[in-house]
Symmetry: C2
Subunit: 104 residues, 2 copies
Amino acid sequence: MSPVKVLRNCTDLEKSVAAIAVIFNNHAGSDGKLSKAQAKDLLLAQFQSFIKGQELKPKYKEIISDLDEDKDKKIDFEDFMIILTSLTIMSNIMHELQCLTMKK
Amino acid sequence: MSPVKVLRNCTDLEKSVAAIAVIFNNHAGSDGKLSKAQAKDLLLAQFQSFIKGQELKPKYKEIISDLDEDKDKKIDFEDFMIILTSLTIMSNIMHELQCLTMKK
């Protein structure tokens, strides 16, 4: 069975990672990469729930200013996941998700 | 509105990242971390579709041997996402997802 057909009966973890990969690939060029400007646009358009409230944090400003610098420079899926992870860790949502799971 | 309630009307990218965070937090201890042994069990149990076919690759062996070393050592969400990303990048699924999106 082709790997992607395998995704039909896969776990939530696999579906979630595959979904992120598809979103990234849909925006990537034929080289499989995004420009920094495209990555910033994608994050501001599709990751606002995690970004909201972080705009004044130094780490957030560092991520955005790095994306603003040398805008045409390309980033790959690994770079994108590192940015996504950084934004997630600092977010209010992550903090609340941790509190919710600890209440169980 | 509390951050997590915001997730109700959020993007696929946000849902996917939140789902990974919930899965991680559900397995994490009160310190918000997993032991290396727990991380390995979680990946082998819930990420097989991406792992299948990679077992002989040096990078895969490196990831697994690192998880086997000092098993009680704790890893946080960021560490987990880095491992998840490495496994995704080397996987047949990622390669095929890239081919599928390029055919569009």
